[in-house]
């Protein structure tokens, strides 16, 4: 079997593949991380360290709640997890051990300080332990202190300041991890750049509420009759992650490499982030659900894609989809489509008809005798709602209409 070269050079650090663990319970300690490396992950962002003498972490419980959509389990995951609750010494010892055992793999130390000296200590000790890079956690949504977690990530001055402090005390590359809990990520990322950041990691989890117990009338996860707005991740978060990553990539002022995060489960998800500008990929929620083994399919799938498409290096395709994003006000409205229903494949359920009747332009005709749907092209505005509700995946397609020669319902 031919294998593509999946290696990535990220801030001068070589990753044998772009797939990394993001800073979370999946990288809690050396034993777990060893198994992740053995499974094939290219890099690990270790669970966020802090200076245990300045702030004692106690995890709440239960701290997870999954977002289920009918029969589809685990579409998203809400967590009230904190940064590491182990001692700094233990974690540093683990990082040393991992670098000794896996010298060619990338170990990134995620750190969070509560003061200049905290940031300094964590940066120095990580570098001394052999960490290849640092990730500055400016984005933990559960960290309620004004001077920590996502509260920093919303304060440009603090981001710039703490990045500067870290950069002053280490020589390894530094990436700043962004919170999505903000209207525009670019000013914060630029602040990190001004502080000296070498790369941006995005996104951290989205502040959310996944569920409410309607009998007890309390949100979940319910921690002794109370709950909180905490971080949401997983497949349902991917569209938001894709948006932020593309914006970071498309910012000419920023021009920093990106470690892309947000709902990645498969090589297709990863590739989509790369096409929008990601250099490396970080994963947690999918590992929490399926285990480290999923990286095998990411590697094999992405490798096949590269070979099939004649791609020698991921850098060739990085951001190639991001450049096609334009302002919606500039869309070419002379280009219009109409839906085409394949009568052979139509199973006659009429879902397209219902949706078009009540949610679009009443352009579908449903023959109840033959149990077949068809498109009234004089009414079809080409919205494609029908295509998306059809339970047969390849039944409804679109046909481009030459609006110079043919009228179209969307133009009148």
């Amino acid at each position: 079997m031919k294998k593509a070269d999946l290696s990535v050079n990220f801030c001068g650090v070589n990753f044998e593949n772009p797939f990394c663990l993001s800073s979370s319970p999946v990288g809690n300690h050396a034993e777990m991380c060893s198994r992740a490396f053995d499974a094939g992950w290219g890099g690990i962002v270790y669970k966020t360290l802090n200076v245990d003498t300045s702030f004692k972490i106690v995890m709440p419980s239960p701290r997870l709640n999954a977002y289920h959509y009918n029969d589809k389990r685990f579409v998203g995951l809400q967590n009230a997890e904190q940064i590491t609750d182990r001692t700094l010494d233990d974690n540093i010892m683990d990082i040393k051990e991992l670098k000794r055992k896996y010298p060619s793999r990338v170990l990134i130390s995620s750190i969070m300080g509560f003061s200049d000296s905290d940031w300094e200590i964590l940066a120095k000790r990580s570098e001394d332990a052999g960490a290849d890079m640092l990730e500055l956690n400016f984005s933990c949504p559960q960290m309620a202190r004004k001077d920590a977690g996502h509260r920093i990530g919303q304060d440009y001055n603090l981001v710039e300041h703490f990045t500067g402090v870290v950069k002053k005390h280490c020589s390894i590359p530094v990436m700043a991890k962004m919170t999505p809990n903000i209207t525009d990520m670019i000013p914060v990322a630029l602040a990190a750049k001004r502080g000296g950041a070498d790369a941006i990691a995005a996104i951290n989890t989205i502040r959310a509420i996944t569920d409410i117990d309607i009998d007890q009338k309390v949100p979940m996860p319910t921690i002794n009759h109370q709950s909180g707005i905490t971080g949401f991740s997983g497949p349902a978060a991917k569209p938001i992650g894709l948006r932020f990553v593309s914006e970071l990539y498309n910012s000419k002022d920023l021009a920093l490499p990106i470690s892309a995060i947000g709902g990645i489960e498969t090589w297709v998800d990863a590739l989509q982030y790369i096409l929008l500008g990601g250099d490396t990929i970080q994963v947690t929620t999918a590992i929490m659900r399926y285990g480290y083994r999923i990286v095998e399919d990411m590697i094999e799938g992405l490798s096949d894609y590269m070979i099939d498409h004649g791609i020698n290096s991921l850098s060739e395709i990085k951001g190639s989809a991001a450049t096609k994003l334009i302002d919606p006000s500039n869309f070419d409205t002379r280009h219009q489509v109409v839906s085409v229903i394949d009568s052979e494949k139509c199973i006659g359920c009429g879902q397209c008809y219902i949706s078009c009747q009540d949610g679009a332009n009443q352009a579908i005709v449903f023959d109840t005798r033959l149990r077949k749907a068809s498109v009234d092209e004089t009414r079809c505005v080409g919205c494609t709602l029908c295509k998306h509700v059809c339970p047969v995946w390849d039944c409804i397609s679109t046909r481009t209409v030459d609006t110079r020669n043919q009228s179209h319902a969307a133009i009148f």
Binding site: N70, D71, G348, C349, Q351, V392
Partner: protein, 446 residues
């Protein structure tokens, strides 16, 4: 959702239909395509409207689903257990074109159980019309007619000859297919509406019928089929019985039957669902060998595919395309059946006169009991001479949909008109007749 045949439950005479968990119900409802034209609803003769109750389950309105079933079908639970869904609601299910049809009966059962567990309110009838209707026979058609009429505010009294209401589902369907409690719960809805059910009230004289006619504004004859057919060859044999007696005994004298059937050889004559029930029950009681002797074979067997699979699973021996020619008797009992295999002269015509014997296929089967499951006919038609009698001693149907018979204030419905059909069809016909009687009563015609 895999439909499992649970052999152990059958042998214990406990429901063979496991209840659906919330998880299974959510997943199954999620598969439903919520068709614009709901072929499932069109396929239900009783108008139970599965298209609606599945949608209600999907949108987390499970109590609403239970309400839909309760309002639309007096025997909702009974039907959920015994309906031949593959020939009705599930037959044109769109999901079948992608994978398997939606398991509608299981969802129906799930919604009903959910309603029971969550205190679904009792049905209330509209205010009294002052009109009184008598119904003879507390089987599916009679119960359904009574239910619909009671909902419309009429006073209903049902006269049932047996000690318990329910008709065929109550007496002749094995416990593993339909637990007695399910039909009792269904019938309970009638009592909620104030319907009076007189059990042990055998109306079998003209005087009694005339009395009902004088006391009530309308009379509904829903007496069903009571007389079992038998083959002449078995006349006077002690160990030959009909399916009604056989199934009733198994249902209500189970341990006694166990003693007499265990390790015995049973031959069941017939190829329909009832014959399968007789065979499977016998196996469940511990019979050594059970033969199902039928004229039809394979796909032509009138029994449902699911039921045939059940019989196969229970190791019933199919003696298909076979005809009994003669018997050996010993001490007044049949001891041996002698028969031959047959072929049909014309295709699709399963009348014995169309059969030819296949030479060299003679067989003999030693037996301890013979059960005849070859059909039934009405018994009380003489009491209602005002109704037009058609073939097979059934009343001739009228109206646009040919679902009931009538003359003056006498109406007939169910098997006594249709000649024997499914429970769900009897429910549907009862509903239609009730609509008609309601209009009739409103007109004030006598």
């Amino acid at each position: 959702m895999i439909r499992i045949i649970d052999k152990e439950s059958i042998c214990d005479f406990k429901s063979m239909h496991p209840s659906m968990s919330l998880r299974d119900a959510v997943c199954e409802a999620e598969r439903c395509l919520l068709c614009e034209d709901a072929p499932c609803s069109k396929g239900c003769p009783a108008g139970t409207d599965p298209g609606k109750f599945i949608r209600q389950i999907k949108f987390k309105n499970i109590k609403g689903a239970a309400r839909t079933i309760r309002n639309n079908n007096i025997l909702g639970s009974t039907c959920a257990h015994i309906c031949p869904t593959d020939k009705l609601c599930e037959m044109n299910c769109s999901a079948m074109k992608l994978e398997a049809p939606i398991n509608i009966s299981a969802l129906q059962k799930f919604a009903i159980e959910y309603g029971r567990q969550n205190n679904l309110e009792k049905l209330e009838s509209s205010s009294g019309s002052g009109k009184k209707v008598a119904v003879i026979g507390a089987g599916p058609a009679g119960l359904s007619t009574a239910y619909e009429l009671a909902k419309k505010g009429h006073s209903i009294e049902i006269f049932e000859k047996e000690k318990m209401a329910g008709g065929v589902p109550a007496w002749n369907i094995p416990e593993f297919r339909l637990p007695a409690d399910e039909i009792a719960q269904d019938i309970g809805k009638l009592r909620d509406l104030g319907v009076i059910i007189h059990t042990n009230q055998h109306i079998n004289t003209l005087e009694e019928v005339d009395k009902l006619k004088s006391e009530f504004d309308a009379l509904v004859v829903a007496t069903g089929l009571n007389k079992a057919f038998g083959l002449n060859v078995f006349q006077d044999a002690e160990n030959v019985t009909d399916y009604m007696t056989w199934l009733k005994k198994i249902k209500f004298s189970n341990s006694e039957m166990k003693t007499s059937v265990a390790n015995k050889r049973i031959a069941v004559v017939g190829g329909g669902s009832v014959a399968v029930d007789c065979c499977v029950s016998a196996k469940a009681l511990g019979a050594a060998k059970v033969y199902m002797i039928s004229l039809e074979e394979g796909d032509d067997l009138p029994a449902d595919k699911e039921e045939i699979r059940l019989a196969q699973r229970m190791n019933v021996i199919f003696k298909s395309s076979s005809m009994i020619k003669s018997i050996d008797m010993k001490d007044g009992k049949v001891s041996l059946l002698r028969g031959m295999e047959i072929a049909w002269k014309e295709p699709e015509n399963f009348n014995p006169s169309n059969a030819t014997e296949v030479e060299g296929t003679d067989f003999s089967i030693p037996v301890d009991y013979v059960v005849q499951a070859i059909g039934t006919k009405p018994d009380y038609y003489n009491l209602f001479s005002e109704l037009k009698l058609g073939p097979k001693s059934c009343f001739v149907a009228e109206g646009d949909e040919k679902m009931w018979a009538s003359s003056g204030c006498t109406f007939a419905v169910g098997d006594v008109v249709n000649g024997g059909a499914t429970v769900v069809r009897a429910v549907g016909e009862g509903k239609k007749l009730a609509e008609h009687i309601d209009k009739f009563l409103a007109r004030g015609e006598i």
